[in-house]
């Protein structure tokens, strides 16, 4: 017994830290993979509608967003309902078909996620949908939150 004790006393007292970089790297790689870096700056106000029967979009890389909502004018005021794609407001609604067609060429399995403010009227969404049909981007997704 005493022999055993003596042996233990001879071992190092410090906590082994050599595995720490491995653990940190593993976490790092996880976060690197899950991160989507490019988030656009919203220039329109969007309160999402809620729904029960929703599906997840697993492949974020396929998704392109179209934002529809009242324009933020600053000072908490809101203007007309406008359409925003990426970082720019769309002035001419007929330009959407060219923008979307270019995106479709780049990504043939494109899903267009329509992020529409819950209080907007459907007419502008219809216009956007017509443009998407002309562009050939037929897979769409109405972005909604889960109902609580």
């Amino acid at each position: 017994m005493s022999k055993f004790k003596k042996k233990q006393a001879n071992t190092k007292q410090s906590v082994p830290t050599s595995a720490m970089p491995d653990v940190v790297f593993m976490l790092l790689i996880f976060f690197m993979v899950t991160t989507v870096l490019r988030e656009v700056e919203l220039q329109v106000q969007i309160d999402y509608a809620t729904a029960e029967n929703i599906e997840k979009i697993e492949q974020k890389r396929l998704v392109s967003y179209v934002y529809v909502g009242p324009e933020r004018l600053g000072g908490g005021r809101y203007g007309e309902t406008r359409v925003q794609i990426d970082d720019a407001m769309v002035d001419d609604i007929n330009a959407i078909r060219n923008i979307m067609y270019d995106k479709l060429i780049e990504q043939p399995r494109l899903i267009v996620s329509l992020r529409v403010d819950r209080d907007s009227e459907f007419g502008i969404v219809t216009d956007v949908q017509q443009e998407l049909r002309h562009a050939g981007t037929l897979r769409i997704n109405y972005s909604t939150r889960r109902q609580v």
Binding site: P21, L28, T35, N53, I57, F122, R133, G136, I140, Y142
Partner: protein
């Protein structure tokens, strides 16, 4: 002497590696948003070709849902409350030719959705949610009968899932908008 030195300094210093990794880790932690994109998926109909007429659809196989400017839902021109849409759609799809006014088979059944320019968006989503719910319930039922497991537990892209999807295909049509 030589041997001793070799023993002491054989390792590359690793302590700074952890610091660098931590720095990167913190950066990615801060910029990551883990919210998943959720929504109601739909496939738009392609732009109709002028040369080919649309395929003929029998009246009974078509369910017209109109959401008008006042946010009222009309099924085949009759007003309907939004919570009742699910049952109506379910009985319409799963009729299998019993009722002469409803669909012949789930494969033939088409739900046509029409909106007005002034339809409130959230009413449209609520209605679409009910329609999707009807399909989801039918698929769940079919999955329970056939495999004894809920539809949601069937794996994405699996054969069983495809089979259920084929039994109740989502034939939702967005009607052409009116001019003007």
């Amino acid at each position: 002497m030589l041997k001793k030195r070799g023993r002491g300094d054989a390792e590359i210093p690793m302590s700074s590696l952890a610091d660098i990794a931590f720095l990167l880790l913190i950066f990615f932690l801060v910029v990551t948003t883990i919210d998943v994109d959720t929504g109601i998926g739909l496939v738009l109909p392609p732009i109709p070709d002028d040369t080919t007429p649309p395929p003929p659809v029998r009246e009974r196989n078509l369910m017209n849902i109109l959401v008008n400017a006042q946010g009222m839902v009309l099924i085949n021109e009759q007003p309907a409350a939004i919570p009742s849409v699910r049952e109506r759609v379910k009985s319409f799809i799963n009729n299998n030719g019993v009722d002469p006014d409803l669909s012949e088979s789930p494969d033939d059944a088409i739900v046509s959705i029409k909106t007005d320019r002034r339809t409130p968006y959230n009413v449209y989503i609520d209605m679409l949610d009910e329609v999707m719910g009807a399909y989801e319930e039918l698929r769940h039922q079919a999955s329970m009968d056939r495999f004894g497991v809920p539809y949601t537990s069937l794996e994405q892209g699996s054969e069983r899932r495809a089979e259920i999807q084929e039994m109740f295909p989502k034939k939702i049509s967005i009607a052409e908008p009116d001019e003007g």
